[in-house]
Amino acid sequence: MKLYPIHGLGRMAIGLVGVGLLVSACGTSSTGGAKSPKTPIEIGAVVGLTGTTSTNGEYELDAMQLAVKQINAKGGVLGRPLYVDSVDSRSTNEGVVAAIDQLGTSPVALVGPDLSSEIGAVESTIKSEGMPDFIGGTLPSLTHEGNPWMLRNRPTDQYFAAALAQLGVVKDGVKSWDVVHTTDSYGTSAAAYFEAQLKTDGGTLADDIGVTSGTSDFTSAISEIKSSSAKGLVTFITLATDNGVFATQLRQLGVTSSSMLWIAAQPTISAPSLQLAGSNLNGVYSVSDYVATATPEATTFAADLETTYSLTADVNAAFAYDAVEIIAAAITKAGSTSHSAVRNAVLALKNFSDAQGPVNFNQYGDGDSTVYIVEIENGAPVYQTTVALPVIPYIAVG
């Protein structure tokens, strides 16, 4: 192949291109690099937009976009607009790893993933990248493994378990319980914490039934429930479709609100779950870290999400919305977008009001211990009370 010599203008063009590449390669560091005052601040979002948890991902992403819109309408943060850079995790561990890799270290902070099993898959990557990550998983150990970058604006399963037991055992006096839980990281851990709390509060476990996510038929499990001696049922079922099928079949096979006290963990009252289960969840109690009518901030968030995205606010949307709000507040407090400054500012936030309730971060990165009790009436969660819980020291269970 013959090579042609490059003269004059050609050499200049190559030189300009090279200089341009050199300049654009600068300023991609997350902590430094010259950014103009108006450079948008990137918030990374790892959400399941396809796959088994895609219903959650849609709500989370839209809620984050709502928060960004509202913050930018007030002038942004440090005079700079925010934007969300989202990557689909495909609701798989491999997808989450790929998503984190794709986002790199340019975001000021990350939001997601929201499943405990997925978070475990990327924990070491987050630690090595040194970037604040607001996680939605409630597995208590996630913030107690020596990773300072894991931040959580949701109560842990310890708090939910304490609230569940307080409602069912202490308040309603039901002593014997069946537990149905998905066999994923969340379901197994949450059930273990509840069962430990049950012992503490004087209750007994009649049956522990593990279900695989995506189960098509729960007849066998419901047969076990009907034949057990338990008067109470607690469920930790992750997916909306599973919650819908389980609730429908439970009622069809004769287990009613009057025959058994059913308290469902918070995934059951996500908006997709409520839509699928319909009236079959009426009379069911639940614990949640978000209820639209619990506080004025919660009500405002619900109204804004409905108006802007025609979505019903739920726990997943509230978590993601609040995460963006907290990130914005932390950047303002720190006066900087450096990862360590933002993290330190988050931990310094006290009584920060948001849709889920006031947050106060501890040294482990856990910020929320507010749990609400709701009863489902006409297919919607109705606020009953806020559970006043003391600070619960972390213990490993199961």
Binding site: L49, T50, G51, T52, S54, T55, G57, E58, T183, I209, G210, V211, T212, G214, T215, S216, D217, T219, S220, A221, S223, E224, S227, A240, T241, G244, V245, T248, Q252, L253, G254, P272, Q275, L276, G278
Partner: protein, 291 residues
């Protein structure tokens, strides 16, 4: 006794779903020697076709179901022509990989078009049910089992009693000979794809009022339907139906009397046992190869 009856009803109902999808597996395999790993997702597409006809065109369930079957038959033709036909001379592996790719494409395409949220559709009889003694029977499941019986009878008549059916059988048994006899092999294969896809769509239509319409509906069905064909005998139509029912009953009774946590594993354990000790399945023929 009522518990056994309830489990029997549940096992037969869910097994019927597997059987309908497995039938499609078998028909395509017999015609092309290829396993279509997108079969479950074709059921999912059938469910979404039903959703559109119910919610956009406001058709009654029975008419919406028939229209959805028609749509799926056309989808099957396009599927056969677009995926199988270009790869038909490249061996089985590229086609299998292409069906897996199609499965991913269908799921993501549905999410892109309809969003991720599952949808509720009302069945043929609303939320009706009846009891046989103390055993609860969901009307929709009863319809599903009834239609499986009808499909089985139709299939028997079609393949044994019509010229078109016999031509399709001839193609599945020996393509070269069928070609020599003047049977349009390509056309028979396209018709097979169309019919199998319609069968998968029928499963999706019938099960969607119970399991909801969602992009993930098919993935749960595919592996179980595949397992049903292994149990019944790969390539055997009767085997696909019996295999589906056996799988549904094994899963349900295993879940109730051993452990619900491992319910989905019992059927797979049975599959492994069959592969070890009776690889031809219940109704398949053992084929020996000469050294």
């Amino acid at each position: 006794m009522s518990e056994v009856g309830q489990l029997l009803v549940a096992g037969i109902a869910i097994g019927s779903v597997y059987a309908l999808v497995a039938l499609g597996f078998v028909l395509i395999y017999r015609a092309t020697n290829v396993v279509n790993f997108a079969q479950g997702d074709l059921a999912m597409l059938g469910a979404y076709a039903l959703l559109v006809t119910l919610t956009v065109f406001h058709l009654p369930f029975w008419l919406a179901g028939l229209v959805s079957l028609g749509v799926m038959a056309v989808v099957g033709i396009l599927f056969g022509l677009g995926l199988y036909y270009p790869l038909r001379n490249r061996g089985f592996m590229p086609i299998i990989v292409a069906t897996i790719g199609a499965s991913v494409l269908f799921e993501n395409g549905i999410v892109a078009g309809f969003g991720a949220s599952p949808h509720v559709v009302t069945g043929m009889f609303g939320t009706g049910s009846f009891h046989i003694g103390s055993v609860f029977v969901n009307d929709q499941y009863a319809l599903l089992v009834g239609i499986l019986v009808v499909v089985t009878a139709f299939q028997f008549w079609f393949f044994e009693g019509t010229l078109l059916g016999k031509k399709m059988q001839a193609v599945s048994q020996d393509k070269q000979m069928a070609l020599l006899l003047g049977i349009p092999v390509g056309l028979m294969i396209v018709i097979t794809f169309s019919y199998s896809t319609a069968l998968a769509g029928l499963a999706g239509v019938l099960v969607s009022p119970v399991l909801f319409v969602s992009a993930g509906l098919g993935s749960g069905i595919t592996m179980n339907a595949f397992a049903a064909t292994v149990i019944g005998g790969f390539g055997d139509v009767t085997g696909a139906i019996v295999g589906g029912l056996v799988l549904g009953l094994v899963d349900t009774f295993g879940g109730a009397y051993i452990s619900f946590t491992y319910e989905q594993g019992f059927g797979m354990a049975v599959v492994i046992l069959f592969l070890l000790f009776r690889p031809q399945g219940l109704f398949g023929e053992r084929v020996a190869e000469k050294a």
